[in-house]
Amino acid sequence: MSQNLPALLVVVPMLLAPVAALVRRAGVAWAVAAGACWWALYAALALLVRVWDEGVIRYELGGWPAPYGIEYRIDLVSAFVALIVAAIGAVSILFARQSIAKEVTEDRAPLFYAAFILSLTVLLGISITGDVFNVFVFLEISSLSAYSMIALGHDRRALTAAYQYLIMGSTGATFIVIGIGLMYEMTGTLNMVDLAELLPQVSGNRTIPVAFTFLTVGITLKLALFPLHLWLPNAYTYAPSAVTAFMASTATKVSVYLLLRFFFTIFGFEFSFERMQLDMVLMPLSVVAILAMSLVAIYQANVKRLLAFSSVAQIGYMVLGISFGSVAGVTAGILHLFNHALMKGALFMVMGCIMYRIGSVRIEKMAGLGKVMPWTMAAFVLAGLSLIGVPLSVGFVSKWYLVQAALERDQWAVAGVVMVGSLMALVYIWRVVEVAYFGELDPDHEIREAPLGLLVPTWVLVIASYWFGIDATGTADVATAAAESLLRGLP
């Protein structure tokens, strides 16, 4: 079995998805989904350990050798991203049980769990596949399941948010498939390793730069880099809480992984950064993303929306790290990918707890919640401090690496932007904390602490976001090794 683990990681949850859709009871469907998620976590962990010990795993699907067949190629970056996705999935599914029971009607819940499993499956698939067309197909399945999960939100604006995401997401995917097509036209292969070998021979003409451009636009649309982020705030705001927590920590992260994969592994550092001067595009955009989106976040009245804009800003940090094109920068990007998944997952879960008790996440409704929901709001404060980047938290670790990467390149202004961004995070987190702890509680409503089923997953992520902040050697080692292998290129 361990030989076929790469395939089983994807196939087992994929087979469980229709099972969850067919059983008509929410509880049973949840159990199936939980089984799928925990299996994925086990498999992803086993794969990471194996890659760390033995190096790159290449798995031929159906025994067809690459480049003719589809190949799963798992290196350190893939295994790390797969582990992040699986871990967040395993925690989110625990959270989903009560949260979904409250926010989604009973008859739709099994279908929701089926979409959830599918989404998890294909995000894992994207992170381990070695075939570019396979990436496109997985990306579309993940987006389709995301649209349907967002549309389950109880507000009618969830529908328009899902529609808007569908239009923009499909446009992005079509751009990606055009890029893949142009690469195939020039090289006759879809295998990533093969492409990396063949592309330098044909990159003299104009087709490959055009393919590169299409891929860049398509992927940055999927990962919501400013100014292609317009689908994100509404989608995150009106989706059911468990969906937001899961998607905010996985979907955009996997797109960041794709960016790394395409720019470094397939096109290679020389082509991406020296010939196409990618950093000239990515760096200004991510700087604007950090400043503008943090500023917009400050003025939001809906806290989920506030956190969504903050997500766009945080994606700016990741892309900023990548745009340095140095080992330190890419390390910072990968580290922040992991760290942001933990803290934003925790923050959106806190929103799920509040939604569960008071049915709204508007800031004025949160007055005085610190007194009646102490554990929930404590989780918000701790995860918020991590987002700001207070020492001992994971947010500090990623900002530390990011600032180091900026100073290594003598980019003092960029390092300043990172600091200013942190200060703005302080402002928007403080707004919520101020209302929750110093606001007057509405005496008409009896509000109790969120149930344990919601608090435990939230606190698991909060504790993780300090655990990996206090002892960052493990994650930093993996991220550095991953960044080195990316910049070294193939093999």
Binding site: I167, S170, T171, T174, I178, G188
Partner: protein, 124 residues
């Protein structure tokens, strides 16, 4: 066929792509937007199929001659066609999901016009 006319397929691809993309961006009607998206995706299908075709190439089926398989036959590349079968499936799924969203938007808002929906959202 040489020159610009020889690239007729690719001209058609570009024109279709721009028609679809423009409709997608410019129209306020949600159904028309989806049609634009579909035209946009269809142009990509045409692009793939065009570069899979080899002039004078036949269908990629092994041809039996008098002495076994004939060897010097030019085949078109079947892989782009197969890829596009997958892309068509993805496109159909996207369109179906999009249209069902539009149906629910119509039920919830009573309109499929983007501007009217925006106005109703701001009013509430």
């Amino acid at each position: 066929m040489t020159g610009a006319l020889g690239l007729f397929n690719y001209w058609a691809v570009v024109v279709l792509m721009m028609v679809g993309f423009y409709t997608l961006i410019a129209r306020a009607n949600l159904v028309k937007k989806l049609i634009g998206l579909n035209i946009f995706q269809t142009s990509v299908i045409m692009m793939y199929v065009s570069f899979g075709k080899i002039t004078g190439g036949t269908a990629p089926i092994l041809i039996e001659g008098d002495h076994g398989a004939v060897e010097d036959v030019v085949y078109s590349n079947p892989i782009p066609h197969v890829l596009m079968l997958t892309a068509i499936v993805v496109g159909v799924a996207t369109l179906a999901l999009g249209l069902s969203l539009v149906v629910r938007i119509k039920e919830a808002y009573g309109t499929v016009d983007e501007h009217e929906i925006d106005a109703k959202d701001h009013a509430s």
